[in-house]
Symmetry: C2
Subunit: 199 residues, 2 copies
DNA sequence: GTCTATAAGATGATAGAC
DNA sequence: GTCTATCATCTTATAGAC
């Protein structure tokens, strides 16, 4: 198989970036975990930055695919957002995508920052879409601002990771998302009898 | 002055840790910014870890002091929390304390993680206290869970940093905190006429 | 396509002069 | 207390054999 090594390198890099960040991940570490030599890595990719950019693009896609598992699932908009917030996550490892924003080398390179930006923007856009859908159906209050609330929801998850990693305890993450779910619940529009008549 | 160099080293380290993280900050960089030689650094501190631990303790204290400027200020509990959320911040630089959670070397060392954990826990505890005060006074709904909501509020700020850094734009941070303020507003207890009678 | 050998530079730390 | 060597190690990358 011509791309066996290539695929192993990407997988190893995705893992290491998630565990150690970009600056903390050396080509040597990647090669060891992938079980390939240096030559293989430099043959398939343009150095560490090229390999990391490819790995981050895959991790960004994976983040959106995982979120879609909740967002495109069954139930009301509230149910789907709550499902997303409660989804099982490697909380103490942090978000493989979001954590890249704290790495100065990633932020200094457009090639590395682009996949991170894209994934987080798409995530917020998808949440915003859902909230619009919830407003149109009358499930959510007309007063909420979907794009704004989408940022707050995405921030709750990203910030939950930060708080939990700091204390090596999933509790802050759980508290943060459960607190957000309670706040969202209070944004549900009161039952409107005219809705069922119109339906 | 015997500790002129020491103090310059701490300041330089605080800046560099905030800008580049721990792994991305070399002793050489610190010495250059502080304008001192290597010998001075190793005389005053137990290497890079010792210096960083001292710097992080100061940054943690500074975070709490800055928050206290809002929390201990005038106005209702809601006003004070909103003031905290809207406070001017170096959004695109990230939180000098929170960002340390993404550095594997910091997380692997109890000495380095401790000041980060302490500061973020104290922050959440202080927000929780405020919310309890708000419930006692009847300002906030009795239904909210203060510790949980405190985690959600702290996470909104930390996550807002992440989203904004990813897109090099303060908008996501602003959206996240304004969205949170709107959510908090809906947790205010409806005006209770019995309150003014009791007062 | 993959390997090993090698290199130029950075990293974190120590030694010892002043 | 502060400085300038100096050091062993690691980092990213290239060269060239297979």
């Amino acid at each position: 198989m011509t791309s066996e090594s290539r695929s192993r390198l990407i997988t190893a890099t995705r893992e290491l970036l998630a565990e150690r960040g970009y600056t903390g991940t050396s080509p040597q570490l990647i090669q060891e975990r992938a079980g390939v030599g240096q030559g293989s890595m430099y043959h398939h990719f343009a150095g560490k930055p090229g390999l990391a950019a490819a790995a981050l693009a895959e991790s960004g896609d994976a983040l959106l695919a995982a979120a879609a598992g909740s967002f495109d699932g069954p139930g009301s908009v509230f149910d789907r957002v709550a499902h997303y917030l409660r989804r099982e996550r490697p909380v103490l490892h942090g978000c493989p995508v979001g954590r890249m924003t704290e790495d100065p080398e990633v932020m200094a390179s457009d090639a590395l920052r682009a996949p991170v930006e894209l994934a987080l923007q798409r995530l917020q856009a998808r949440i915003s879409e859902l909230l619009v859908e919830g407003q149109r159906s009358g499930e959510f209050s007309a007063r909420i601002a979907p794009a704004r609330l989408a940022a707050t929801i995405a921030a709750t998850v990203q910030g939950g990771y930060v708080l939990s990693k700091a204390s090596r305890d999933v509790q802050p993450f759980t508290d943060a998302v459960e607190g957000m779910i309670e706040l969202l619940q209070s944004q549900l529009a009161p039952a409107d009898p005219t809705l069922s008549e119109r339906a």
